[in-house]
Structure formats: structure tokens, C-alpha cells
Amino acid sequence: MVLHISSALTASALHPLLCFCFHNTYPEMENASGLHRQLASMKKNLFDQGYLDEQFYQLEELQDESSPNFVEEVVTLFFRDSSRSMANIDEALQQCPRDFHRLDKFLHRLKGSASSIGAAKMKNECTRLREFCSEENLDGCLRSFQKVKNDHTILRQKLENYLQLLRQVGPVDRASRSGS
């Protein structure tokens, strides 16, 4: 079947569908190599669409026998922590009068976090948001922050799927996982 994926959202929505179809149409593929390929293509997807950057590879490099679930742990930690950050930002944007200085601190932290796991889109949008913040452009901030929230949500979903698949595939050797 041919799918024209026109937006990230569509892609992510369709992906599970794809997986489902894939599994049902080609049951014999539901084996290690098939999953690997899926995993690889998911990852490629994430990179191609700019959700992740090479910093993510760094995370994967850190996973090994002594720390077999490292990536998942970090990602989970990130989303937990960043959700809290974002709640703070939300609040800071609501309060009157706006304390842009304080807001900037939150943003800096969020940006640092995002960049540390390779969450490229989020990081970039955070940068823009910080610019608006420094200009004290509330409107710009609100719009930009909305984008950050969206990126956050989408990335979370995508990474959850990815990690889920990763778990299914089981201990995978680095080569096949990293290949994309």
C-alpha cells in the first residue's frame, strides 16, 4: 500500500497502523529481522523528520551490558522532568506580571535537557522561544511554547513506540539497531 505521509502527525498516527498492517499482512515477517527493520526504519524516521539528532546516538552508545536499558531510562527521565519544566513554564506565562527572567531560566533548563537526549525539534523551538522571551514578546512566547508542547507530545509518542519495539526486539546488538 502506498501512503503519502504529509505531516509528522500523520506519520506518527499512521505508523502504528503500518506496524499493524505489516504484522497482519506478512506474519512471517514478524521475526527478529523484521522487527529490526522496523526499528531501523522508525529510527530513521525520527531522524529524518528532525525529531532526533546525533546526540541520540550518544545515548545509544552508552547502553551496554552493564546498563542495558539506559536509553529507555534516560528518555523516561527526560519526559518526566521536562513535563514538570513545561508546567512551570506554562505557569510563568500565565502569571501577571510576567517574569521573563524567571521564564528564561526554565527555558534554559528545558533546552539543555532536550539537547542532552538529542531532541532536536524541541531544542530548536526552545531556542526560538528564548529569543521571544528575551524580547519580552509575550505573544511570540505563547505561540512558540505551544509548538514546544506539540513537539514534546509527538516526540514522546514516537519514542514510546520506538522503545516499545526495542523491548520487543530484545537485546539487540548495536550494529543492527544503529543502522538506519
Binding site: 546526540q55 550518544q58 522532568d81 539543555g112 539537547s115 542532552s116 537526549i117
Partner: protein, 509 residues
């Protein structure tokens, strides 16, 4: 402990749990012994409790309870450990702040494994530097503790070891006028004696006194009396004198010596005087304008070296040269008043242009970000490299990897691919003549020490660049910097030839 650097004891401080986890893992993968904490206050208490235990501190800049720079200061004050700062913030001024507060490196987040693999070099370098200081000052001690027990005057270590720490402790103070004396009473087990910061002014006084007495005949006691500086001890002077003598020996160049001196004697030569002051001024300005690597600063400093062994008025250049070469004692170079900078700048830049030792052309661009075009090098950089002894320091030798976060961005244009090998050397070469007996070793040591601020700086082999003290160059005045930049650029466009005479030691006018 297994093979070094495995087991290196690192204290990691970062309030972001994600970053903390990642960094922790990275450091462990490097086989370092990691202790983490997410609060600066906690970090300090850990450091205090386990004094002497840690080798290195890796800290984030922005933390809720305490500014990373404050932490940096505390650590410098109390423990004298190498500290590496990290931040997602790559703004030049923040990086600069790291430099001036004495961080030995500044890593931009997101951090990659490669950045952490080599952090051990900062530990080694620091220890080496301290050892060298001890050796140079004549002390035989290799142990800080021993050093402490020596009360005697000729022990130079007290004056200078870890002086850069003092320098780093200095806030971005604007007190360029005052001599800077910092007495630090450290009650840690690594406690050192009170340290003196030999500012340009102070050194100038010292040199004046020495010249008055005659370099060969000067004794610390008399120098001290002449200088009449409160709080300065005979020990401080003694150690400084020792270094100074070493320096003079090193830079002495017989054939040009007298002419240069003669020239100096005239001392009214705006050029020379201003060179001196400009040197001090320049690099400050330069430093201000760019994330000037200490090496560069030093290089700038040492500019046209005067080789005066006699009691001739040692110009500021000399002093600065001395300051920059002598090792870690000269953190501060205060601007000595920007008098005829124009002339000197011209002199410097022109002379550097003149002496095109082509094989030495460094690609090193100090200004980095300020460069307007590739070819428009900050000519003053040609004045660097006091120790350029005509050897082609070429590519392999002094590759300073300016990917250093110090430069503020990972794709900095100011990469000193070839280190600053040579142009400065060119100038100095012409001015002073071949100095083939340069103490390469010392230089190397200093350089290495200096390149703390540069990632992978272990690749830099040479370059009589200053020592860490220059980290502390206060790069405040961007305005001055810009002006200076303009002046220099203008000079560059003008003909170069005027200075020629001056630098070729024609008899003074």
C-alpha cells in the same frame, strides 16, 4: 586504582537529572570514579568533607541554588581543584566568565563522550604546573605539604604556585591601577602560603627597583625596600626575582641586545613604550573581543621581546614578556594606560606584517569571531609567539583545537589549526634574533598548562604562551577592544614600513 586515567575522581554537579544521568554514565564509561550531586551547596560540602579526595570537578553553570561561577570561586579558594564548567549556553560572555573565574575548561552541552574522555589532562597539567613552579623556584619539594613547612625566603613556591587560582578568584575587577596582592590563607591540607598576584604594575615596580640596583646586584631585601609595597614579603620578591633572572637568561640575545637596550634607553620612543603598554592593553582588549585563549594572550604579551640583561630600563614589553613567560605568576595584566597605542599597535602589526616568515604563517586567528574576513588576520597575533625560534612549528606541532567550547561555539572559525606558531615569532625573531635556545621544555609545559582552556589541548606542543594566569585576563572592555581593532585594521591597511626601523634596532633617535 587501575591504570590512569581510570579511577580519576570526578565530582559531577548538575541540577538537571537527565543531564546528570547521561554525564554520569559517560564518565563511568571513561572509567572515572564519579560522584554526583545536583546542588552546588551539596557539592561544596562533599568537597570539604573529602578534602583531597577529588581530582576534578565538572559543574553546570546554571543551577538554582548557586551560580556555577560562585561554586567555581569557592572551589578555587578552598580546594584548588581543576574545575570544568558546562552549559548549553555558548554565549561568548558566559564562556569568558568561565575563563575569568578560572575554569580550566568550558564544555558546551550537549556533551559528547569525546569531550569527557580527555578531561584528565587538566588534572595532570595542573599538577605538572605546580611541580614546575616548585622546581623553577628552586624548591626541591614536590609536595605541597612540604612546601608549606618551608618558611624560608628563597622558597618561591609560596609566591607563585597556584597563583592562577588567585587570579581566577578575582572578580572582573576593574582595578587595573592598583597592584594586586592577594593573600590567601588556605587551611586545607593542600594549603599554600599566601600568594601574590604579580600584576603588570607590581612587576613594573619590581623591575624598576631591580634596574636601579642593577640586575646582577639586586637582592630581595633591597628590592623590597625600594618597591615599598605593603604586604609584599621578601619571600615573594625573592621568588619573583629568581624567575625574573631565569627569564632574562632565556630571552637574552647578545647581538641585538645592546641596540635594543639602547633603544630602550631612549624610552621616549613612543613605539616601544607603547608597545609595552599596548601589549598589556592589547591582549586585554583582544581578549575582551574574543575568547582569547590564554596562549594567545600570552603570546600577545610577550610581543616584541626586549632582551635586556642590563640595567637598562626594561620596557614594559620586557616586563610583559617576562610576565607571560615566567610561569603562572602573572595573572593580571592591567592595562597600563592606553597611551600611544596607535603607534605601537602599528608597530606591532606592521612589524609583524613585515617579517613575513612565510613558513611560519600561522593560521591561528585569535580574533575568531571578530574576523571580518579570512585574510584579515589580527596582525598582532604575529607578535605572539615569543618563543618562535624559527622552527616551523607547523601543523603537527601546535594544533590547538579551537573546538574548545571556550571559543563559544563548536564550529568556531577561530580554530588555530596551526597554533600560533609563528608569526609572532617572526616579529620577535626579527627583533631579537634567533633564539634557538629557548627553553622548549618549559614552554611546552607552560603551553600545556595554558591550553587548559582548549579542548584537546594536549595537542598543542608549544608556544610560549602564557600560563594559566592569563585566563584571568580581564576582558572587560569591549569598547576599547573595538577601537583597538579598528586601529589595528587601519594600520594594517597603511603601509608597513615605518616600524621597520624601530624594530631593527637602529640607534635611537
Amino acid at each position: 586504582m587501575t591504570e590512569f586515567p581510570a579511577g580519576l575522581r570526578v565530582l559531577l554537579v548538575d541540577d538537571d537529572p537527565t543531564c546528570l544521568k547521561i554525564l554520569d554514565r559517560m564518565l563511568r564509561k571513561c572509567l572515572y570514579d564519579v560522584t554526583t550531586c545536583s546542588r552546588a551547596a551539596v557539592a561544596l560540602s562533599i568537597l570539604r568533607e573529602k578534602k583531597g579526595w577529588f581530582d576534578l570537578v565538572l559543574s553546570d553553570v546554571y543551577m538554582p541554588d548557586m551560580d556555577g561561577f560562585k561554586l567555581l570561586e569557592h572551589i578555587g579558594l578552598e580546594m584548588d581543584l581543576p574545575v570544568i564548567m558546562m552549559s548549553a549556553d555558548d554565549h561568548k560572555d558566559v564562556v569568558m566568565k568561565g575563563v575569568t573565574h578560572g575554569a580550566c575548561d568550558y564544555i558546551i552541552k550537549p556533551v559528547r563522550m569525546e569531550s569527557l574522555k580527555n578531561i584528565w589532562q587538566h588534572v595532570v597539567r595542573k599538577k605538572r604546573n605546580e611541580l614546575k613552579e616548585l622546581e623553577n623556584s628552586g624548591s626541591v619539594e614536590e609536595d605541597d605539604k612540604h612546601k608549606r613547612s618551608l618558611d624560608d625566603g628563597d622558597n618561591a613556591s609560596s609566591g607563585c604556585v597556584g597563583n592562577w587560582k588567585n587570579a581566577k578568584r578575582k572578580k572582573e575587577g576593574k582595578d587595573e591601577e592598583e597592584e594586586e596582592m592577594v593573600e590567601e590563607h588556605d587551611d586545607s591540607s593542600n594549603s599554600k602560603k599566601p600568594r601574590v598576584v604579580w600584576s603588570v604594575d607590581l612587576h613594573q615596580q619590581f623591575v624598576t627597583a631591580v634596574n636601579q640596583l642593577g640586575v646582577d646586584k639586586a637582592v630581595p631585601k633591597k628590592i623590597l625596600e625600594l618597591m615599598n609595597v605593603a604586604g609584599l614579603t621578601r619571600e615573594n620578591v625573592a621568588s619573583h626575582l629568581q624567575k625574573y633572572r631565569l627569564y632574562l637568561r632565556r630571552v637574552s640575545v647578545p647581538q641585538h641586545h645592546s641596540r635594543f637596550d639602547a633603544h630602550f634607553a631612549s624610552a621616549q620612543e613612543v613605539t616601544y613604550n607603547s608597545i609595552g603598554s599596548v601589549s598589556g592593553y592589547d591582549f586585554q582588549a583582544l581578549a575582551a573581543s574574543t575568547q582569547l585563549l590564554p596562549q594567545n594572550i600570552a603570546a600577545l604579551h610577550s610581543g616584541p621581546r626586549s632582551a635586556t640583561n642590563t640595567g637598562m630600563g626594561v620596557s614594559a614589553i620586557d616586563q610583559i614578556g617576562f610576565l607571560s613567560s615566567a610561569g603562572s605568576c602573572y595573572p593580571r595584566v592591567s592595562s597600563k594606560g592606553a597611551t600611544p597605542q596607535t603607534g605601537s599597535v602599528k608597530a606591532l602589526s606592521n612589524s609583524s606584517n613585515l617579517k613575513g616568515m612565510d613558513n611560519h604563517v600561522p593560521n591561528f586567528d585569535i580574533i575568531g569571531e571578530h574576523r571580518e574576513n579570512k585574510t584579515q588576520d589580527w596582525k598582532l597575533q604575529n607578535v605572539n609567539l615569543p618563543y618562535q625560534s624559527g622552527q616551523n612549528l607547523g601543523h603537527g606541532q601546535s594544533t590547538i583545537d579551537c573546538r574548545s567550547s571556550l571559543m563559544g561555539n563548536q564550529d568556531s572559525t577561530s580554530t588555530a589549526k596551526n597554533g600560533f606558531n609563528g608569526n609572532a615569532g617572526t616579529v620577535t625573531k626579527n627583533i631579537i634574533s634567533t633564539r634557538s635556545d629557548i627553553d622548549m621544555e618549559k614552554r611546552e609545559c607552560i603551553v600545556q598548562h595554558k591550553t587548559n582552556l582548549v579542548e584537546n589541548c594536549n595537542r598543542v606542543n608549544y608556544d610560549g604562551i602564557t600560563d594559566l594566569s592569563y585566563q584571568d585576563i580581564l576582558f572587560e572592555d569591549n569598547i576599547i577592544t573595538n577601537e583597538l581593532m579598528n586601529v589595528v585594521r587601519k594600520q594594517q591597511q597603511e603601509g608597513i614600513g615605518q616600524v621597520d626601523n624601530e624594530f631593527n634596532f637602529n640607534p635611537p633617535v
